[in-house]
Amino acid sequence: MNENHRPHPFDDTVNSSFVELLRRQSPHLLPGGSTPGTPDAPHGTTVLAMRYRDGVIMAGDRQATAGYQVASRRIEKIFKADDLSGVGIAGAAGPAMEMAKLFQTELEHYEKVEGDNLSLDGKANKLGQMIRMNLQAAMMGLAVVPIFAGFDEKAGVGRLFKYDITGGRYEERDYDAQGSGSKDARDSLKKLWKRDMSRDDAMRTALEALIDAADEDVGTGGPDFVRGIFPTVKTITRSGFGDVADDEIRRVCEAILSERTKTGNGS
């Protein structure tokens, strides 16, 4: 607490970054480093984010795979970053969840020290820097490629960002998906997404895309009525980060599947 050297003006008292603090105090807790590559480490599969009338909606399946095995059937891939933003993780599940946790702490740390929230652009940039720190591990097969989405208070709209493994940050206007089933989910969104959808329509579209991804991609898990495991859906609007209840998700999944059974659409 009491630094032994005499601090320079503005030396350290103004730094409100938690990541920088960890780098100084406990660098071993940071992502990246020289983790030896373990190709069978669990990988998360499909997450997506899309804009709708009130903000953004984020959704993800619940499966993690290690090689050709199911590693977990009920992991969560959409995390609340703060009241107005969320991260969806794809790629190596362990480092990705660690990164999501670090990102949450970073935002909260900044908010407490500064007494104010980071702008949405500031948050998106910070996440890009964290992905870049993980580059060495990414080269060994432990890549983390999240989607970041949030509500921009200044602009009054929902916005979403995708990343590459080097930390490159790209803003997407309407929708995006990440992970092994992302191409199928994106194809589906390409046909179904419309401007200014209502919450119900947006939720149905998100779940259609995830069911399509589960249909085409062996890594992605679909709705599991036997065990009662359903994709995660979260909404981020002006009034905050909201969960969608499992019951509601189950009903929409049932509706989609029974429609497909009846019409043969999507088969």
């Binding site: 607490m1 009491n2 938690f18 960890l22 105090q25 406990s26 702490t105 007494g115």
Partner: protein
């Protein structure tokens, strides 16, 4: 070369303590009260931007009186301590007790080793769970002395009078409005004027809230709670 002349340690400590006490006595006071749903922190602070009361972690709040730059420094150190600990272990492992001890060590070291002691007193409060968990309030003085307080605490220039007033008037199970009114009366006890919502900075650790229990009470809500709404 002139020899540094001798000052007895006793005299030096006395001088430092007196210096620190004088600095603190010039500042305005803070009271903390336990109420039905948590812990209330009331500071006399006309500034709406420079805070005396703030959030440290999920269930922990901080309050400081005295020199702003010094307790601000301690506040940030506290947030760092808490965030690193919660990140490397788990959120539940961050406790007010460990933090209060760290403050006590830091202030004690500064008091004995530096030429100028910190002119501050700080308070660390942790709200207990809804199912009967006990709340904790720690009060740390400029020389590292640490006390755990029950039900209420006061610090700053007029702390003794305020404490005496609270001892006579505090009772268990108060609602937020009642405890706030009591807190404001306690802060006004040594002054001729009554404090209005513009002179106050108020926050609570509200155990009915989800994860982060700390909540500031804005001026509009304050005037309602104080019964001065127009």
């Amino acid at each position: 070369m002139p020899l540094p002349y001798y000052v007895s340690p006793e005299q030096m400590m006395k001088d430092k303590a007196e210096y620190a006490r004088k600095g603190i006595a010039r500042g305005r006071s803070i009271v903390t009260l336990e109420y039905r749903d948590g812990i209330l922190l009331v500071a006399e602070n006309p500034s709406t931007l420079l805070h005396k009361v703030s959030e440290i972690y999920d269930r922990i709040a901080f309050a400081g009186v005295g020199k702003y730059n010094e307790f601000e420094n301690l506040r940030i150190a506290g947030i760092r301590h808490a965030d690193v600990k919660g990140y490397s272990y788990s959120r539940g492992d961050v406790t007010a007790k460990a933090l209060a001890n760290a403050y006590s060590q830091a202030l004690g070291n500064i008091f004995t080793q530096d030429i100028k002691p910190f002119e501050v007193e700080v308070l660390v409060a942790e709200v207990g769970d809804a199912d009967g968990g006990k709340s904790e309030i720690y009060h740390i003085l400029y020389d590292g002395t640490i006390e755990d307080e029950h039900n209420y605490a006061a610090m700053g220039g007029q702390a003794d009078e305020i404490r005496r007033f609270l001892k006579d008037h505090y009772h268990d199970g108060m609602g937020l409005d009642e405890s706030l009114q009591l807190g404001v009366r306690a802060l006004s006890v040594t002054q001729n004027k009554t404090l209005s919502e513009r002179d106050l900075e108020v926050a609570v650790l509200d155990r009915t809230k989800e994860r982060r229990k700390f909540r500031r009470i804005p001026a509009e809500a304050l005037s309602q709670l104080l019964g001065t709404a127009k």
